[in-house]
């Protein structure tokens, strides 16, 4: 019996002790009419060897293309140390540190994680993580609505350059509490959002402004002006940020004259594999004033009865297992193991190393952008503006065909923007990180050129 250690003798002896004849008798409180028959659609069990063969064959089906997709999930080099450490049984098979004395490893690690996230965001406090960037943004919105004492509004304003998948998830979550997300239109000729566009929203009551930096398009927004504008309007500022970029860019805590109030984002770039979208983790940091509105676990440093330092879950009075219907969120588990990996990753890279990752990605992106600009039939939108490691190109040929043909050649060239931003035309979002070599970039440009002339001739 896989994973069940009982021998026949064990079972007999245990049943005798309990005083029943059979295991089945232990289920005699279940109304017999409800008892189910054998599972019909579950196949018979396999050995580990057979299972691994089956899943290996499937995994191999998904291999083989060079990937230039980003849009919220980024391929970075993951040092071997990261998962060697995170996969240690003591991290991987422990649970939420309810017994602090028996969980100092996890607790100290999360405290260190919180410290690192505040270092990156320039804000005062961090929690122990949320599920992912999108649901994290929803929590940030709920938090801002609770926290903004100046505003009674249940509306928040989002730039159109915030990840559309994030905005969608936020809506799906917060509309249940009658909170509304209003979105600023994207100008197809200027992917940056100048504050002038926001004039239309002045004087209205919004609990918060959502700003993503770098934006979904990879562009850098003028976050200082945007932050000051929002604060002047009595809004809180929620910064949606890429943690890698924070090694290079102004941290949200320093945006404008007083800094963003809440920063949120997805931790995936910090040592987590693409892995079909998860597990990643959402991070959330805020100014000290809002700490009691924070959702999720928070770890604090304290002392034990001998005065030695130690770590423990704290501010639990915000949480569902204590406050139940009055909790700041229903969140229970966080993404502990993902955070473990990210903490190891950030320790390895350090501020300077992470900056190098950001810069190398940025430089590769600049290179590809330059290569593609030179191709007939390709328009790099806002060719000269500052981007981080993504940019938007418009193709002469229908972009879905371009993507299809590039994939036939073993390259996933970018994310089709048509559904989310029809105003951009035949556009796709291209991402380049430090993992790509010069040859990879040349190959991309070469293939794209070939595909475009092929499509021209059809």
């Amino acid at each position: 019996m896989p994973f069940i250690p009982h021998t026949e003798d064990d079972v007999r002896r245990m049943l005798d002790t309990i005083g029943v004849q059979s295991i089945d008798e232990l289920f005699d409180e279940i109304p017999s009419t409800l008892r189910c028959e054998a599972l019909k659609h579950v196949p018979s069990g396999l050995t580990e060897m057979e299972m691994l063969r089956k899943l290996s064959e499937r995994a191999e089906m998904d291999e083989g293309a060079l990937c230039f997709l980003g849009a919220g999930a980024y391929e970075h080099h993951i040092p071997s140390v990261v998962w060697d450490i995170a996969s240690r049984g003591e991290f991987m098979t422990a649970y939420t540190p309810y017994q602090a004395e028996a969980s100092q490893g996890t607790l100290q690690l999360i405290y260190e994680f919180q410290s690192m996230m505040t270092a990156l965001t320039g804000l005062d406090v961090s929690n122990a993580s949320l599920y992912d960037g999108a649901s994290g943004l929803a929590e940030a919105v709920l938090m801002a609505v609770r926290a903004n004492r100046k505003s009674k509004s249940r509306k928040v304003l989002s730039l159109g350059s915030v990840n559309p998948r994030y905005r969608q998830a936020v809506e799906n979550i917060v509309t249940n509490q009658d909170i509304e997300l209003e979105v600023v239109d994207v100008d197809p000729n200027n992917l940056q959002t100048p504050t002038s566009v926001l004039a239309a929203y002045e004087g209205q009551d919004y609990a918060a402004l959502l700003v993503q930096q770098p934006s979904y398009f990879g562009q850098l927004e003028d976050v200082n002006a945007l932050t000051d504008w929002a604060h002047a309007q009595g809004m809180l500022v929620i910064a949606v940020v890429n943690p890698t970029s924070l090694a290079l860019l102004t941290p949200p805590g320093e945006w404008g004259s007083t800094g963003a109030d809440i920063a949120v984002g997805d931790g995936q770039p910090l040592g987590l594999p693409l892995a079909s979208g998860g597990p990643y983790f959402g991070f959330i940091c805020c100014k000290k004033a809002f700490v009691r509105q924070m959702p999720g676990r928070i770890i604090g440093r304290t002392v034990d009865m001998e005065g030695q330092p130690g770590f423990t879950l704290t501010l639990q009075a915000r949480e569902q297992h204590i406050r139940r219907s009055k909790a700041t969120s229903n969140i229970c588990t966080n993404q502990g193991l993902a955070v473990t990996a990210a903490t190891v990753y950030m320790s390895l890279l350090g501020g300077e190393g992470l900056r190098q990752v950001a810069l190398a990605s940025h430089e590769n992106t600049q290179s590809l952008r330059a290569l593609l600009s030179a191709i007939e039939g390709v328009e790099v939108i806002q060719n000269t503006g500052p981007v981080f490691h993504e940019f938007v190109v418009r193709t002469k040929a229908p972009v879905h065909l371009v993507i299809e043909h590039m994939e036939s050649g073993g390259i996933m060239p970018g994310v089709d923007l048509q559904a989310d931003y029809p105003q951009l035309g035949e556009a796709m979002l291209v991402c380049v990180t430090e993992t790509k070599t010069e040859n990879d970039l040349k190959l991309y440009a070469h293939k794209l050129q070939a595909v475009l002339s092929e499509l021209e001739n059809v």
């Binding site: 069990g45 080099h77 003028d222 304290t302 501010l315």
Partner: protein, 487 residues
């Protein structure tokens, strides 16, 4: 010592940082960070040593018996971890086209089918990223259902007092009011109170069955009838699904919607607090509302072909709750686990979890501990109340819990459910041998003797761990939530 304190300005794990070209940045200064982010500055060896040693300060399933009630801390098969870590799965971008996704999609689809069978439900979505998000999705579907029918009066969710804190918190997240239902002394819900509570304001009820009292709710059919008659829906909190796997199905009990905790029932690693995965399953009635994305299958010329179903295919969906597809890697681990166990193995899970819990409960009783529900069968877990020990020796449940750590056992869940005073909720799981169970009971017996003879010893435990008992009050009063480098 913190990893920051091991650092020194300029130190780094150099092999890990890419080389930069001559700076090609076009980023204006106003958007650039002024000073390097104050992350740790340590060598690769220092990182390895620091975190290896940190890990050694944890209790875990791989090192200890961990009978944490309601958390199903069973063995996490390493094979499932390996399967989910295959390069093809790890490297797949979440937005990869179907062409480069058939492997992953087929796993998602197959697990959906398995979970439908296991739960007796008509549809499954694996998108929710944790039990609590599954609950959210479930209650949001209940809300969407009533809204679609124009039934706007239903503003209340019923929750038994023994419920997990996530239940009322979720109802509120979905904009509902919560009404608590009392639980009787035998652990079953007070049916009369239920009858009085339902009405046109009732959106639904959230139930865990077996309940958090460690017993099976025997009146479930009656409850379903009452709630359905009142026009409400039944939500099944799948936290305790491990107890009844293959024995009774939530769909057959009359539930309309439920979530599962894959990290519990399907043995994926708990990771020090996550990630989990909280798929939802629904009956026909709620099928249109399932959260996206869902894997669909068509047969193209005899060959199966898989694709994502989202908003276009499911216009009434409550939508996506994450940027991509939830905790895909956890889904893969759960699928691998299901493939390993198969139909016959999944049935054994419930059987042996129940056998272990009942055996352990009997041994605890024989050792002089008081069961909270002595007349009932234990399910996969059971409750001991330490009230007698508090009265006799002034040693409480937490003291026992802390002292257990000294004996090398993780403590059971303490002080939950709230309605049982001084309780320990104990869940051995099916993957533990009777030897471990007997060892635990022996330790409890010794602690009971200690409580009798040297209560101070127990009250000041633990002694053998990296730290002594921690000052939680100070932690909350003098907040120290992040390291700040000394100037």
């Amino acid at each position: 010592m913190l990893i920051f304190e091991r650092g020194k300005s300029g130190r780094r794990a150099t092999a890990q940082a890419p080389k930069n070209r001559p700076d090609a940045s076009t980023i204006p200064d106003s958007l650039l960070r002024k000073a390097a982010a104050p992350l740790p500055e340590v060598s690769e060896l220092q990182v390895v040593r620091h975190f290896t040693n940190l890990s050694r300060k944890n209790f875990s399933i791989d090192t200890q018996f961990y009978p944490l009630g309601s958390c199903t801390m069973k063995y996490n098969p390493r094979g499932a971890h390996k399967a989910a870590s295959l390069p093809g799965f790890l490297r797949r971008h979440p937005l990869a086209s179907d062409r480069f996704s058939q492997g992953f999609l087929s796993c998602v689809y197959d697990l959906q089918e398995i979970l439908k069978d296991v739960t007796g439900m008509a549809g499954v979505s694996l998108a929710p990223m944790a039990g609590a998000q599954g609950e959210f999705a479930g209650v949001a579907m209940i809300k969407a259902y009533h809204q679609k029918r124009g039934d706007d009066a239903r503003q209340e969710i019923l929750v038994p007092s023994a419920a997990h804190g996530t239940n009322p918190a979720t109802a509120v997240m979905c904009g509902y009011k919560v009404r608590e239902l009392p639980v009787k002394d035998d652990g079953d819900v007070d049916i009369d109170a239920l009858r009085e509570s339902v009405g046109p304001q009732t959106a639904g009820i959230m139930l865990t069955n077996p309940s958090t009292c460690g017993v099976f709710e025997r009146q479930i059919k009656e409850i379903a009838q009452i709630v359905h008659d009142a026009g409400g829906l039944l939500y099944y909190d799948g936290a305790n699904l491990n107890a009844i796997l293959g024995k009774v199905r939530p769909g057959d009990m009359g539930f309309d919607v439920m979530h599962m905790n894959l990290h519990k029932t399907f043995a994926t690693p708990h990771g020090g607090g996550g990630p989990g995965s909280g798929p939802v399953a629904v009956n026909e009635r709620l099928l249109p509302f399932l959260p996206t994305p869902i894997a669909g299958r068509e047969d193209v010329g005899g060959e199966a072909s898989y694709c994502w179903l989202d908003k276009e295919a499911l216009p009434d969906t409550i939508g996506a709750l994450s940027a991509f597809m939830g905790n895909a890697g956890i889904v893969l681990r759960a699928y691998a686990y299901a493939v390993l166990l198969g139909a016959e193995g999944l049935v054994r899970v419930g059987e042996f979890a129940t056998l272990n819990a009942n055996y352990m409960a009997k041994l605890m009783e024989q050792a002089g501990f008081k069961l909270a529900y002595p007349g009932r069968r234990a399910t996969h877990e059971f409750i001991v109340t330490m009230s007698p020990q508090v009265k006799s020796f002034d040693v409480n449940a937490m003291d026992f819990a802390k002292r257990l750590l000294d004996y090398g056992y993780h403590a059971p869940t303490t002080y939950f459910p709230l309605l049982v005073p001084e309780c320990l909720l104990i869940e051995p799981t099916e993957t533990e041998s009777p030897d471990e169970i007997e060892g635990f009971v022996l330790a409890m017996t010794k602690i009971l003797e200690e409580a009798q003879n040297t209560p101070e010893l127990v009250k000041a435990a633990p002694y053998n761990l990296p730290v002594r008992r921690l000052d939680d009050v100070r932690a909350a009063r003098e907040l120290d939530l992040a390291y700040r480098r000394e100037a």
